[in-house]
């Protein structure tokens, strides 16, 4: 690999080093200087987790070739403060609860620092604009803004620095106290090491060869040229699995590496472990494969016909059907004065946790297989791994690395199997870091859904019957489809006492990206349909939407859709509080719009007009170093 020499200053230290010429500033900081506070959330300048100061200007270091940084002064998050000596901004982040998973936070701290340096009097609109290049997936940004405004006011003297320390607490209890997050100091200072930040001596780098076909038999896999690449230590395929090769959250239908066929574009086929990332990538590019394309299924309804089977041994593409039957819906509809039937659909959604999947694996000094990864379920992963690697369960150790966002996306054991395989085969530590693109295209998504909904109500708004049928595209492997269908069914008709209910949720295999666990797990899809159709019904019945809900909500003692007796149901209180909280103007859902009396509350944010800094005097005097 070609090198170049750079001289620059990083966090006040003069550095003179030979670096890989193709490195970006981000790679140099993370790999050569071990300043892992700046993260690679996407590598394409879209997320801001790599923000650093270069000669006083905040830039995205994943977009700067290292040579460009030569002769410049670099400032990273590590320079802003330490866990025991936080900067004012970092203290503010700590107090307001601005850091959740923490992965975006170093970038946010840098963007906030830049904002207040540029304009110590920045208002909320200016703050939002200057932080518009940094994405957060956990916090919704609100507490980050609160932190920046708090820091601004403390720095300017408007608020006492004590405002950064004290949190509210009930008199004799820590329950109900706004205790500051104990994991925040390590996160706001960029000191916490996530899996991709970890290094071990003699560590190899793993890269994965993935399917370019949605449904195909693997006729021939030729690793010969790949094996010749300098630095390659091992290439593993399904043939290297010592134990029972399958995993999955509900059904274990997914092989660690494709076995004989591939079922979706992006499915892992082989994994390479080499002494450098570049060598591993080169080896992957030299793997040759011959496919025999099979007819593929991309539509759930088509897949249900079972004309083409995705998992032959299951004899059907139906993953799971959850039925709920309560009362008699024919009778229910017969009693209705109003019947509404509508169709709804929701799309596949990407988790977009800021931390792309990553992990390390090694074999311990006593022969224990160790896997370090941001897994949401190390307990279950260990079970599956012990069976896959044919090791007794106590000889498999899963350590959870700090999770940079999960939302259900890190529940599948989608790469730990091949990582462990490489570690066992080479007897060296192996690290794997997914690129953002790899993560988006090869890991599970939220189930896209199509729901047909029929509801009957009396003219007073009492629901007499509900019939819901939801079909969800489960993609190539089961993942959490069964659980998602179950939850969608149990909760889907909403918090309403419905005597006559017919609910069917159906999860199907297709050759699309697998669908899996995603925060709110099926309930989001079905309750979306319910709350939308109730709004339609409210209009037709000339009722206020809150009133329509009140006519139907559960009270203590009611039976749920699965005939469980509720010992308490706070939905009545919740609706009352909600109505008061937003000062709701009572009325029908008949597009009152501007005629409403509750609009333009001071609680809202202002509509974004992208020009907060174009009009204020202070921004004209903006001081850019």
């Amino acid at each position: 690999m070609h090198k170049l020499k750079i001289d620059l200053e990083v966090n006040g230290r003069k550095i003179s080093k030979e670096v890989n010429s193709h490195y970006r500033l981000l790679d140099f900081l993370r790999e050569d200087l071990d300043l892992t506070g700046s993260k690679e959330g996407c590598g394409a300048g879209e997320c801001g987790s790599c923000s650093v100061f270069v000669d006083g200007k905040l830039v995205k270091s994943c977009l700067m070739p290292v040579a460009k940084a030569s002769g410049k002064k670099i400032e990273t998050v590590e320079h802003q403060g330490t866990p025991d000596n936080l900067s004012t901004l970092q203290k503010a982040f700590h107090l307001t609860g601005a850091s959740q998973c923490g992965f975006c936070i170093p970038g946010m701290v840098m963007a906030a620092t830049s904002t207040l340096r540029n304009n110590p009097e920045a208002g909320i609109e200016e703050i939002k604009e200057e932080m518009g290049g940094n994405i957060c997936r956990c916090t919704g940004y609100q507490k980050i803004f609160d932190a920046v405004e708090l820091a601004r006011d403390v720095i300017s003297g408007k608020l006492d620095p004590k405002a950064l320390e004290e949190y509210s607490k009930p008199a004799n209890s820590y329950l109900g106290a706004n205790v500051k997050r104990i994991d925040a100091p390590s996160k706001v200072t960029g000191r916490l090491k996530y899996a991709a930040d970890m290094k071990m001596p003699n560590m190899l780098h793993m890269q994965v060869f993935r399917s370019s076909r949605p449904h195909a038999k693997i006729i021939k896999l030729d690793l010969s040229k790949a094996k010749l690449v300098n630095g390659v230590e091992a290439i593993v395929t399904c043939d290297d699995i010592p134990g029972i090769d399958n995993f999955g959250v509900f059904i274990e239908d997914q092989p660690v590496l494709a076995k004989g066929k591939v079922r979706y574009v992006g499915e892992a086929i082989a994994a390479v472990a080499a002494d450098t990332l570049e060598a591993a990538q080169e080896a992957v590019s030299k793997i040759e494969i011959e496919y025999e394309d099979l007819p593929a299924l991309f539509d759930s309804e088509e897949a249900l016909k079972d004309k083409i089977l995705i998992h032959e041994n299951y004899k059907t593409n139906l993953v799971k059907h959850i039925p709920i039957r309560k009362g008699n819906i024919e009778e229910g509809f017969a009693k209705a004065n109003l019947i509404v039937e509508e169709n709804f659909s929701t799309q596949a959604v990407e988790h977009a946790y800021l931390e792309p999947m990553a992990g390390l694996s090694y074999v311990d000094s006593d022969g224990t297989l160790v896997v370090i990864s941001p897994s949401q379920n190390i307990t279950h992963h260990r079970h599956m791994m012990s069976k896959i690697m044919n090791l007794p369960i106590h000889k498999v150790r899963f350590i959870m690395s700090p999770v940079g966002g999960g939302f259900g996306g890190k529940e599948d054991m989608i790469y730990q199997g091949m990582l462990a395989l490489c570690a066992v085969k080479t007897r060296l530590p192996v690290r794997y870091v997914m690129t953002r693109e790899e993560d988006i295209t090869s890991t599970a998504k939220r189930h896209p859904s199509r729901t047909n909904y029929k509801i009957g109500l009396t003219k007073d708004g009492k629901i007499t019957a509900v019939r819901i049928k939801m079909i969800a595209d489960g993609g190539a492997y089961g993942c959490s489809t069964e659980g998602v269908m179950r939850k969608a069914a149990i909760l889907g008709a909403g918090p309403y006492n419905i005597e006559n209910l017919q609910m069917d949720t159906i999860g199907v295999y297709t050759n699309n990206t697998p669908s899996g666990a995603f925060r709110s797990f099926g309930a989001l899809q079905t309750e979306f349909a319910t709350e939308s159709i109730l709004d339609i019904c409210a209009e037709k019945l000339n009722m206020d939407p809150f009133e329509l809900r009140r006519k139907n909500i559960f009270v203590a003692g009611d039976l749920t859709h699965t005939k469980q007796k509720l010992n308490s149901a706070s939905i009545g209180t919740v609706l009352n509080e909600l109505e008061a909280l937003c000062n709701w103007d009572k009325g029908t859902s008949n597009s009152r719009g501007d005629k409403r009396k509750d609009l333009n509350s001071k609680d809202n944010r202002a509509s974004c007009f992208l020009g907060a800094r174009l009009n204020t005097k202070s921004t004209v005097a903006r001081n850019v170093k």
């Binding site: 150790r397 999770v403 999960g406 797990f521 939905i571």
Partner: protein, 339 residues
């Protein structure tokens, strides 16, 4: 053809079940009251950003009588910590919070037994909070740090404890789905206020009012943070995110094509926490992680309908979909045919 921006509001209700669905759920924990009146807690907790570590520190602090900042929570490691199962199903505060409470009570019990001996009082008179321990109805008081020293050095007892929490759920009947999938349920509702730009179809979400029952809010700021984050994830699904594939190939394979909400796209979220404690668990706390995002999308679609009279029934409600729907509505009202 239209230039004006129109505002409107919509609401939606929601409910959710806490912990593993239709299957027994369980979590274990170990606790030790340590030198200096600090504490160690070990459990299979998976902090994914929701704030569970802090919640557990608060629970431990409350049960043991120390400060949350003095509670050390061990790493989640299958070879080092007891099983507490996974991060998901909005289960950690409920399952692990309660398991940690049980473990702490066990450890505290061990300590209290020795201190009761030391002061010659009934164990039930003892109370500890915020670093001090005292016997009600007497003048006896000392720091937790001293209490631990006495317990260990004088009486030879290490105040360790263990605990388990079980949530009894049943499976569902395969025919009619009946069963008790959860012990605890939570309820919520949200109101959305939107501004629709009828010139471009762009929807700006200006405000979300969110009211959620969480049983007991152990860290209210943490609950707010979950609601704010959940709402924004739902905003993404409602208005701009769309994972697309063509013949099985992803066309939205990067953050340039897969559009996430930025700081300029998010509403101000106003939260009201309702507490309807769970009667079956030690702490009464339920959960918020997932329920926070269930009512958001329909509230937004209902608000769009209120603002401009069109209903989007297929997510996401992109500017193109909005303008197309507005156009169809206009032509319908003009009696024109729609292509």
């Amino acid at each position: 053809m239209s230039l004006t921006k129109k505002r409107g509001r919509g609401m939606a209700a929601a409910w959710y079940g806490i912990a593993r669905t239709a299957a027994m759920d369980q979590a274990g924990a170990w606790a030790e009251i340590d030198d200096g009146g600090t504490a160690k807690v070990l459990t299979g907790v998976t902090e994914i950003g929701e704030g569970i570590l802090t919640v557990l520190a608060q629970v431990a602090a409350d049960e043991l009588g120390v400060k949350p900042e003095q509670v050390i929570i061990g790493d989640n490691d299958t070879s080092r910590s007891p099983e507490a199962a996974h991060a998901g199903a909005t289960r950690q505060t409920y399952m692990i919070g309660n398991a940690v409470a049980m473990a702490c009570r066990d450890a505290r019990d061990r300590l209290f037994k020795e201190i009761a001996k030391e002061w010659n009082v009934e164990k039930e008179t003892l109370q500890a909070h915020d670093g001090d321990i005292w016997a009600n109805g007497t003048n006896y008081k000392m720091s937790m740090s001293d209490a631990v020293k006495i317990c260990k050095k004088k009486y030879g007892v290490i105040p360790v404890g263990s605990g388990n929490y079980t949530s009894h759920h049943t499976g569902l009947d395969p025919v009619d789905g009946s069963g008790r999938p959860w012990q605890a349920y939570v309820f919520g509702g949200q109101v959305a206020e939107v501004e629709v730009d009828t010139a471009t179809g762009e929807v700006q979400l200006l405000g979300i009012w969110a009211c959620h029952d969480v049983g007991k809010a152990i860290n209210p700021k943490g609950v707010e943070g979950q609601i704010e984050g959940g709402v924004v994830q739902a905003v993404g699904q409602a208005l701009m995110e769309d994972y697309q594939q063509v013949e099985g190939h992803t066309t939205t394979g990067s953050f340039a094509k897969y559009i996430l909400p930025t700081s300029l796209d998010v509403p101000r979220v106003i939260t009201k926490i309702v507490e309807d404690p769970d009667p079956l668990s030690p702490l009464g706390a339920k959960g918020i992680g997932e329920p926070a995002m269930v009512p958001t999308a329909p509230a937004i679609m209902n608000a769009i309908y209120d603002a401009v009279g069109i209903r989007i029934q297929s997510l996401p409600a992109t500017p193109e979909k909005i303008l197309r729907a507005l156009d169809e509505k206009r032509r319908k009202s003009n009696g024109q045919a729609i292509n």
